[in-house]
Symmetry: C2
Subunit: 164 residues, 2 copies
DNA sequence: TTCGGTGCAAACTCTTTGCACGACG
DNA sequence: CGTCGTGCAAAGAGTTTGCACCGAA
């Protein structure tokens, strides 16, 4: 038996500042190390991303940022997402649609996805046995894993009932 | 210990007709059931895809088809790929580049991917324990799996040695 | 003051689509 | 023969980029 726990970030509205601070600091460090600048726009993007624990698409982020004091152009959003990817604070996903999905990464809390192909709902989960097994497989091939992505597509419990 | 076996289709040049026939028949059936026509172009696309056991991108397929007697336009390639996806003979993958990758599906031989982020090489593998564990996880969530995709990104044995 | 950053709009890439002609069933 | 399919070229969608001005360090 495997101990699988959902890691889904469900409906929050509080201010997870204590959570998001270390991430912004990581980004600041990264920028400093690369001789890059911490601009108002970059700060806005990072704050917006880490103020919510879900997945998002580039366009959605552009929209969300319209609520900010600092205006951030679409180009800057894409450019910043690329930087965040470089310093591994953000990952690019693919759920089968044409647009890219992103999600922020918490180094310690990796998770995989169950994606409902009917209602589009995404369930996150984490399973240690699965992680272990994957490491073992990589070992067999002398493959040095950097990261992985497991997406299981199908019908969630609600939708499965409606199919008959 | 898990029995993991590579399923990589490495360097073939023979004529796998006996293998590809049943697939074309499946497609013919599908077309017939839907009241669709089996055109020269569709046949060319299917033959080309199943004459090789690798992954391919749409553009690459367009190129490969230029060697055929029958000319097939880019539009038709995309349209046929969509049909092949509908009848589950082809799957669309995403290896992190902007273009889509496709691969043909053999219902009985599912596999996952190790993708080298340095040289781009893709290793296919299959591991029963992994499959079992995933089914178990789905069960925990009352999730009804249709298909899944596991991609492990990192460095292949060759590239890992060159890093130091 | 000095580079790197930003916004804008145009460019790009991959994919989809409207239309008139062509060919499978 | 009647549709469905095809090729073409143009349109879309998402993302990237060149350039001149702007601002963090």
């Amino acid at each position: 038996m495997s101990e699988t726990k959902p890691t889904q970030a469900s409906g929050e509205s509080g201010s997870p500042d204590s959570e998001s601070m270390p991430r912004e600091e990581q980004f600041v460090d990264f920028l400093a190390r690369q001789g890059l600048k911490l601009t108002r726009q970059r700060r806005a993007v990072v704050n917006e991303i880490f103020s919510d624990a879900g997945h998002f698409e580039a366009e959605e982020l552009v929209e969300r940022l319209k609520g900010h004091r600092t205006r951030v152009s679409r180009a800057t959003v894409y450019r910043t997402l690329e930087l965040l990817r470089e310093c591994r604070l953000v990952e690019k996903l693919d759920f089968g649609t044409q647009r890219s999905y992103y999600e922020h990464v918490s180094p310690s809390e990796h998770h995989d996805h169950l994606i409902c192909i009917r209602c589009g709902n995404v369930i996150e989960f984490h399973n240690e046995a699965l992680e272990t097994l994957q490491k073992e497989i990589c070992g067999n091939f002398g493959f040095q894993e950097s990261y992985h992505s497991l997406r299981i597509f199908g019908h969630c419990s609600k939708c499965a009932q409606t199919i008959h």
